[in-house]
């Protein structure tokens, strides 16, 4: 346990001056900012406050100027944007050791390689949680400043449940991205992997079979595909995610422990 804490301390230190951290926070905060703009535009005139594709989208998703819609939008942003941003975080944390050519310094030490990777996973989870909590806080601040209607404790609890379950699903789904970074020896391979996943998630989701494609499930669960798609989710949809996450985690550890580090 002591070694694990020391590995985590080292990981925190490595990221001390990382500008990537701020980039992810700024990119992720676009969701509550745009959500707040929607709220502001719709506040007095409903759908008439919007124009063009925004209006069509809002109508399609039954988006309204109230807390329920606003918080649901934040969950959907995690379900879709999280694949990209959390994937970016995982790519950076696991791929940087190869891009910075520091991986070899971590491989012949009295500490096990899995503890070093576990420290990265802990840091990754903490980073993702910090991102979603910051977005939630931003959303709440914007919502109260705009005096959005429909505030109720039960609305908050219901949406928080969806928000954090969506977060956990995405966090779980990015262990294969960590594997792609370790096996691909850098952050380019996992970023490519994330881009492919994002496209596939959209296509497969639109085809109506996203309930069995792991990277489509969080978005559908968050309501991004509407209620029709959401009711198609079943236990298997979530079991597939858990299995994907476990395979990604174990694959990452085994690869780093047993593959040649040329």
């Amino acid at each position: 346990m002591k070694q694990q804490i020391l590995a985590l301390k080292a990981e925190i230190l490595k990221n001390r001056h990382s500008q990537i951290t701020w980039v992810t926070f700024i990119a992720f905060s676009l969701a509550p900012i745009f959500g707040a703009v929607f709220m502001y535009l719709m506040k007095d005139n409903g759908y008439e406050g919007l124009s063009g594709s925004f209006k069509s989208k809002a109508v399609m998703m039954s988006f309204e100027a109230n807390w329920n819609s606003f918080l649901a939008l934040l969950s959907q942003a995690v379900g879709i944007g999280g694949v990209l941003i959390f994937g970016f975080v995982a790519s950076w944390l696991f791929g940087r050791e190869y891009s910075d050519a520091t991986a070899k310094d971590l491989l012949a030490l009295p500490i096990s390689r899995s503890k070093i990777l576990n420290a990265k996973f802990i840091y990754y989870i903490s980073w993702c949680l910090a991102l979603v909590i910051s977005n939630l806080l931003l959303g709440l601040i914007f919502g109260f400043l705009l005096q959005v209607e429909g505030w109720h404790y039960s609305v908050l609890i219901t949406n928080l449940k969806i928000y954090f379950i969506t977060t956990l699903l995405i966090i779980t789904l990015n262990t294969p991205v960590a594997f792609a970074a370790i096996a691909g020896r850098g952050y380019m391979a996992p970023l490519g992997f994330v881009a492919v996943l994002l496209v596939l998630a959209q296509i497969i989701g639109a085809m109506g079979i996203g309930n069995y494609f792991p990277w489509s499930v969080p978005g559908i669960y968050a309501g991004a595909g509407g209620e029709d798609l959401k009711i198609q989710l079943n236990y298997l949809s979530f079991i597939i995610i858990i299995i994907t996450g476990i395979i990604g985690y174990i694959g990452t550890i085994l690869w780093w422990k047993y593959s040649d580090q040329k």
Binding site: K2, Q3, L6, A7, K9, A10, L13, K14, R16, H17, S18, Q19, D100, A101, T102, K104, D105, L106, L107, A108, L109, P110, I111, S112, R113, K115, I116, K257, D260, Q261, K262
Partner: protein
Amino acid sequence: MNIIKTENLTKIFGDTIAVDTVSMHVKQGEIYGFLGLNGAGKTTTIRLLLGLIRPDFGSCYLFGQKPKQASGIWNEVGYLVETPHSYPNLTVTENLKVIYNLRGLKEKSIIKDVISILRLTQYKNKKEKHLSLGNKQRLGLAKALIHKPKLLILDEPVNGLDPEGIAEIREFLKDLTQNHGTTIFLSSHILSEISKLTTRIGIIHGGKLIKEIDSYELEEQIIKKLLVNTVDNNKAINILNENNLAVSINGDSILEIAEQNAIAHPEKIAAILVNNNIPPKMLRVFEEDLESYFLRIIGVNNIEQ
């Protein structure tokens, strides 16, 4: 006691035998120089020793143990593989703190100490990305030395250092061996450095260890000869032969005398020639340098004669 021992160590990448049945041993307190051209198998051997890659055949031992992950032997081993890299956005001190934590070290003062030893004090708060190549090398060495290892495995340790820095590191490594009993295994392409520093040399070529030699033996095996050029070399050969000196003539029409006495006393040769009215235009003791020796051993035919 053998600190490093390999037995038929072999690594194959696809169709290439990168390391081919290498058997060697390095004793405590030795500075073992590992020589080879680029692609000869030096770095692959070092990676095998560090457990970064697995051998296809054979085995290697550090302190009598196979190099297993998370083993206690890594507390005794410091290493530097290829070009040293550190986290570019971290300062010198922060980079060392990362290693300090991962190694589970306890005395914080050792960070300051190793910074001072490697003369990085004025750069301690500078980010790695702003360091010169030489100082990056020093930081790499600092990371390898921070835990005061009993065995140092260094791949091209003086790369990028200026002559003053090279001399400094050489003396530092000698001090480690002589006063702290540290064993050093190092590869370098700066062959003159190897000859100044090492106690034993291994030459690897095409993945095979083709020669192991003690540094004092090397001195004996290096070709030495006296090169002479005169206004009339044919007459000079006759005169020198009359004085019981075997003389040959090389491709550049320069006379070569290999006898130890002549090499030790070239002034006597000069006197003989002058007394016979054929004063030398050139008289030079040629001593094969390590590079020429190395190329001769591996069979590359471009040795200065």
